[in-house]
């Protein structure tokens, strides 16, 4: 279970990083990040994966890297102690890595899914300038003087990273770099301050690799000064190691050697070889410790550089964020238009019906109905005159566009705005181009279809809501007996009181005094009507506000969400980008934990001492 777990984590992580790398390669301005991402995914596949799988630390990997023509193959020969690699003056001759196995018993070659990425191992021997995604494995012939100090190492001769052709094969260099436990960085007297190799050296240090620098082709007299200069100029500006320490990078100089020394590394050139071997062996005191360091540093590099690696995705996502904002701004505009064009002028005339019913409700029921009718008859002149005056004074309503028209034209406005925006920005980022393309392919129509669907639901809800608001207004009065009888009784008492008062004060009343009765009754009714009207208006305002909310809830928000997420759906790169952004940091953390647990478990019992001798003293010439 544990096994499968870490396998899937490693597999997914390297997949994601590989996908991100590809994503960068497709965008010219991001291509520079592709190399770093390749290193990250290769670290996962080549180093961390096999370690978690429990593969033995032996053999350690020693990679020789450097700019074209700096003398990598010569250095490989010196490390091997024999002429194994063809050192020739054609710059950038080596196009794929070659592994040199030490003489002696064969070890278990690392086997792991995704090991070395797309690179295949070729069995038959081919010249190093075969420009394919392959690596080959050769064996170093047995040394004459027996003990091989690098018996636990596989020696890798790598291609360069400086020639114009290197863009095609720098990935292979990255694969081996990720694999390596110790790296020999070769720089010639010409190259040591070159930008491209120096950047690469920085990358090695950030990834926490143990690095040994060999300065080649140095004039014997300049050697000491040059090493000092190099330490100051180049090493002084190195970044920190993943664990925060300042990297200690040993530097040795290889002078411009005569042919005799160059072709006989174990004999005439041995003094240079010894110096180099010393430094290399210091970097790897025991296999387990060296491998543990490599893996820990790799995991730590991934967790510290992870953010930086994902920056490429962030730029895209920032653009994505911008699109979302544009969509939601459009949504706000849509709602604003609805509010102004429709709601502000809408009177909800269906609501008047409820108002009238409320007025009826406060009339007396049953036997009292008779009295009410008398009052109604008494108020007739007042009613007529009131209607005449209000007809003169009240203006007709503003004629509104229909709700549907307003909604549809607001939607068109919204979509047009998005489309125009995407067209305007189409040149700045592929996402906008994708959106503009989507609009060409009928995105607007899809949005309209979606709107029609939502609209049906909305229409139902809005009718129901209006009815409910009216019913509720009635219900508050109906179901509250105190209020209901208070209103009814109040009005009734007021009517009676006025009639009684008129009769009392004008007793015996003449006919014109009796005219005061309808006047008074009308007055009380007007008061009651004003109260009911006030309640109805308040309810109307509530309905208006609720309608606004309803539009936001059931129409605009679903469409806005759908539009905002559109670029990230349908298997587009944004979908994957989002997944990658959330998944990668998580997986890196998981992996780091697993690595540190495993390292802890592996280090305390150093019970199995390395079978092969790891001589602290290098062999003499």
């Amino acid at each position: 279970m544990e096994e499968l777990d870490h396998r899937s984590t490693v597999g997914k992580l390297s997949d994601d990083l590989g996908w991100l790398e590809n994503h960068c390669r497709l965008q010219p301005e991001l291509a520079a990040h592709a190399g770093n991402l390749r290193l990250a995914s290769a670290l996962t596949r080549n180093t961390i994966g096999p370690f978690l799988e429990g593969q033995p630390a032996k053999p350690l990997h020693l990679a020789v890297v450097g700019g074209a023509g700096a003398g990598k193959s010569t250095v490989v020969n010196f490390l091997a102690g024999a002429i194994v690699a063809d050192a020739n003056p054609q710059a950038g001759y080596t196009r794929h890595p070659t592994a040199y196995l030490p003489a002696g018993p064969a070890f278990q070659w690392p086997s792991y899914i995704g090991f070395m990425g797309p690179m295949q191992r070729i069995s038959q021997e081919k010249p190093a300038n075969v420009d394919e995604d392959v690596y080959q494995v050769k064996r170093i012939p047995p040394l004459k003087d027996g003990a091989d100090p690098l018996a636990n190492f596989v020696l890798w001769d790598c291609p360069d990273m400086t020639t114009w052709a290197s863009a095609g094969y720098v990935n292979r260099l990255m694969e081996v770099t990720a694999l390596a436990d110790v790296i020999v960085y070769v720089a010639s007297d010409e190259r040591y301050n070159d930008e491209v190799p120096t950047q690469f050296l920085h990358l090695l240090v950030r990834a926490g690799k143990a690095v040994v620098v060999v300065l080649t082709k140095v004039r014997e007299v300049d050697a000491a000064a040059l090493i000092e200069h190099f330490k100051q100029e180049i090493l002084g500006r190195l970044p920190k190691l993943p664990d925060g320490n300042v990297p200690a990078v040993p530097v040795i100089a290889f002078p411009q050697m005569p042919m005799s020394e160059r072709t006989d590394p174990a004999g005439a050139g041995a003094k240079h070889r010894v110096a180099l071997l010393n430094q290399v062996l210091v970097q790897a005191e025991s296999e387990t410790a060296a491998r543990a360091r490599t893996v820990t540093n790799a995991a730590r590099y991934l967790s510290t550089a992870g953010d930086g690696l994902l920056d490429v995705a962030r730029r895209d996502l920032a653009e994505f964020e911008l699109w979302k904002n544009t969509v939601y701004r459009g949504m706000a505009e849509f709602e604003d238009r609805y509010r102004r064009e429709f709601l502000s002028g809408e009177q909800f005339h269906r609501f008047d019906h409820y108002r009238d019913r409320l007025l009826e409700l406060i009339e007396l029921p049953g036997a009292g109905r008779l009295l009410s009718n008398v009052m109604w008859a008494l108020r007739t002149p007042y009613r007529w005159s009131r209607d005449a005056v209000s007809k003169l004074l009240v203006r007709p309503d503003v004629l509104n566009l229909s709700e549907r028209t307003v909604l549809e034209s607001s939607l068109s406005g919204w979509l047009d705005q998005l489309r125009a925006e995407s067209l305007r920005r189409a040149g700045t980022h592929p996402m906008w181009k994708q959106i503009a393309h989507g609009f060409e392919g009928g995105l607007a129509n899809q949005a309209r279809d979606r709107f029609q669907q939502e609209y049906r639901g909305f229409e139902l809800k809005e009718t129901v809501e209006l009815e409910q608001a009216g019913q509720q207004m009635l219900a508050t009065v109906e179901q509250n007996p105190v209020l209901l009888y208070g209103l009814r009784g109040g009005k009734f008492v007021a009517d009676i009181a006025i009639v009684a008062a008129v009769l009392y004060f004008t007793w015996l009343p003449s006919w014109y005094h009796l005219l005061l009765i309808p006047l008074g009754v009308s007055f009380t009714h007007q008061i009651a009507e004003l109260i009911v009207r006030g309640g109805a208006e308040a309810a109307r305002t509530r309905v208006r506000r609720q309608r606004e909310k309803l539009v936001a809830q059931s129409l605009t928000t679903p469409i806005a969400n759908w539009l905002a997420e559109w670029p990230a759906t349908g298997g587009s790169s944004f979908e994957r980008l989002q997944q990658v952004l959330t998944r990668v940091p998580l997986m890196i953390r998981q992996m780091e934990e697993k690595v540190s647990a495993k390292v802890k478990a592996a280090t305390p019992p150093p019970e199995a001492p390395a079978p092969a001798s790891t001589p602290s003293e290098p062999p003499r010439a």
């Binding site: 063809d86 003056p89 001759y93 114009w164 100029e233 238009r337 064009e341 502000s344 503003v398 067209l423």
Partner: protein, 628 residues
């Protein structure tokens, strides 16, 4: 190059070379002026920043070339270019026989360019960019017209060096691409070479030749490798010098020679060609070659110039503009109809005022009794419309009365108020939406949105309320005109009614009064109250009948006006929209056609100069400096 090849064109071209370059100078200046003018002109078709920078650079080159050629003896600038440590400075030192350029093991060594030139050349004649470099003078007649420039590297961690080099490169006539065994095809240098190879002459040096000859079992020798690379770049027979400059410099130091070729160093590897390089610089590049290189440089510049200008030729959008206009006029019509709807809806609360206005206008033509009656009845009928305005706060309390109307009926102010209210409610948003709609439609018809964007938005930001107000007033006036001056049968009805209504009441009054008087005097019937009342009643009845007829046959009720008003307003708005928006695409297309023809003119002129040059230049001797 052998003697005969060189001699043959010499005799023919002995005359032209000197005037050639002198004639070219004013031509280039003229071209540069035009080019500058074109570049600085305001344009509808925008250049991207990169395009503009490229074109600006070319304009500078053109000016520089023009100035450099306008002299008795044009100067040839040979520039060393290569990575750090390949031995550019050593090469210059070896060529000069003196340590004029700093050479050491620290990389990068050269930070400031070194200019090596003949003492007869006054430093004012140097290009301004060169005057700021370290200057080293010499007195070697062979190099009299040549300036050799040692430049900083292009690949070290010191990025400022690369910028210096790139700033200097445009001055170079011949670039001496210096490579070493390690760096002869490094990406940085090679990219720069590929970028510049169409712009100037290239010769190649493979320095540190001693490191190249130690062949391994496999792989190509660097010079073969480089030649293969160059061949794939189109240099069939490039000038490639294999040198070991350090050895020659050491030898010169040992022998103490500062002038002339130092004694040949002892352990020189086979195939070393430093003397050949030196010879080529001193003797191979004669005056004829210099002029050929110069002329060819100008030719290359002109070719890349015309290519660059051609690349920014605006498209011909005349056909698209027409299509866009067609689709726009449909959209604008629809939009005008909707906006008219909104405006008519906004006028709805003021129907009584509008009716009142129309009635008053219509009644102007009635005189006498009829006129007096109508004015009185109108005043009574529309009492509310002025009453409402006289009730303080009525606008706020009464529903529907949100818009404050002026107390005095003032059509202009009233309509303005309506347009403001409609604008706030709907029209402002609609105008913005309209702009987007138009842009999208334009893009669908193949008109790039980037071009339409700015002018359309500018139109969208115009004061549309003011225009709409004007349209409403005009439409109202038109409707009024129609109401007061109808056509067809209405005209007859109207004039007949008018004539009768203006006369009949008076006639009936006189007739009734006459009848009563006649009865009194002739028949001696003393009129009773009813008879006397008849004098007033009969004309009144007549007037009322006419009033009814007017109301029935010539209605000025709002619903009757509204349809007509809506139609007129829609037409007005359509007209207004079309006047503002429709010319945009065609104007743009026209401007682009004009810009296109400017580009064509420039390209044609460039080509003319280039053709003139091609006829006159004899570049046979320098062909190997240029690939295909």
């Amino acid at each position: 190059m052998n003697e005969h090849d060189e001699a043959a064109p010499m005799t023919v071209a002995a005359e032209p070379p000197a005037p050639l370059l002198r004639t070219l100078a004013p031509l280039l200046r003229g071209l540069e002026r035009q080019f500058r003018g074109w570049l600085d002109a305001r344009r509808k078709f925008p250049l991207t920043m990169i395009q503009r920078a490229e074109l600006e650079g070319m304009a500078d080159d053109l000016r520089r070339q023009g100035e450099a050629l306008d002299v008795e003896k044009p100067l040839l600038v040979i520039m060393l270019m290569g990575g750090t440590g390949v031995g550019k400075s050593t090469l210059l030192n070896a060529l000069s026989g003196a340590p004029i350029a700093q050479a050491a093991f620290t990389r990068p060594t050269t930070r400031d360019p070194v200019v090596y030139f003949h003492h007869s050349i006054r430093s004012e004649r140097l290009d301004p960019a060169l005057r700021l470099c370290r200057l080293a003078q010499h007195d070697r007649p062979g190099l009299e017209q040549k300036i050799i420039v040692d430049t900083p590297d292009l690949d070290s961690n010191d990025l400022a060096n690369r910028e210096k080099l790139i700033a200097l490169l445009p001055i170079a006539d011949i670039v001496l691409y210096v490579g070493s065994q390690e760096k002869y095809h490094d990406k940085l240098g090679w990219d720069l070479f590929k970028e510049q190879r169409r712009r100037r002459a290239f010769a190649f040096v493979l320095n540190k030749w001693d490191r190249c000859v130690t062949t391994g079992e496999l792989g190509l020798r660097p010079d073969e490798d480089l030649l293969a690379d160059l061949k794939s770049e189109g240099f069939e027979k490039p000038l490639l010098f294999r040198t070991n400059a350090q050895a020659w410099l050491d030898s010169a130091k040992k022998a103490g020679t500062t002038v002339g070729l130092p004694p040949k160093p002892e352990d020189l590897p086979e195939g070393e060609q430093f003397p050949l390089l030196r010879n080529w610089l001193e003797l191979g590049l004669t005056r004829l070659e210099i002029e050929a290189v110069k002329a060819r440089g100008v030719g290359q510049l002109l070719v890349s110039l015309s290519r660059a200008i051609d690349g920014v030729r605006p498209p011909d959008l005349t056909a698209e503009a027409e299509k866009v206009q067609q689709s726009w006029s449909g959209t604008l019509g629809e939009e005008a109809a909707v906006q008219a709807d909104v405006l008519v809806g906004t006028l709805e609360p003021y129907r009584t005022e509008v009716e009142h206005h129309f009635s008053v206008e219509d009644q102007q033509r009635f005189r006498g009794l009829m006129g007096a009656y109508l004015r009185l009845s109108t005043r009574m009928k529309y009492a509310g419309s002025s009453l409402r305005d006289r009730i303080p706060l009525a606008g706020r309390i009464l529903p529907g009365g949100r818009v404050e109307t002026p107390v005095e009926w003032n059509l202009g102010a009233f309509v303005q108020e309506c347009a403001r209210s409609a604008g706030e409610r709907a029209l402002d948003q609609r105008s913005t939406a309209l702009v987007n709609r138009l842009l999208v439609e334009g893009d669908q018809r193949g008109f790039p949105l980037t071009l339409l964007h700015d002018p359309t938005h500018t139109v969208g930001r115009l004061d549309w309320r003011e225009r709409i107000t004007r349209s409403v007033i005009e439409a109202l006036a038109e409707v009024e005109q129609i109401c007061t001056n109808p056509r067809g049968w209405r005209k007859w009805v109207r004039s007949t009614l008018g004539l009768l209504a203006n006369t009949l009441p008076e006639i009936s009054l006189v007739a009734t009064a006459g009848y009563v008087l006649y009865d009194f005097f002739v028949n001696s019937v003393v009129p009773d109250t009813f008879r006397i009342a008849l004098i007033a009643i009969v004309p009144l009845v007549v007037i009322v009948i006419f009033h009814l007829l007017i109301v029935l046959l010539l209605p000025v009720r709002w619903p009757a006006i509204r349809g007509e008003f809506h139609k007129r307003l829609g037409a007005r708005l359509t007209q207004e929209f079309e006047r503002a928006y429709l010319p945009i695409p065609s104007d743009l297309a026209l401007a682009l056609v004009e810009e296109r023809s400017q580009v064509d003119r420039l390209v044609a002129e460039t080509k003319e100069v280039n053709d003139w040059l091609a006829v006159r230049q004899q570049a046979a001797q320098v062909a190997e400096l240029y690939g295909n």
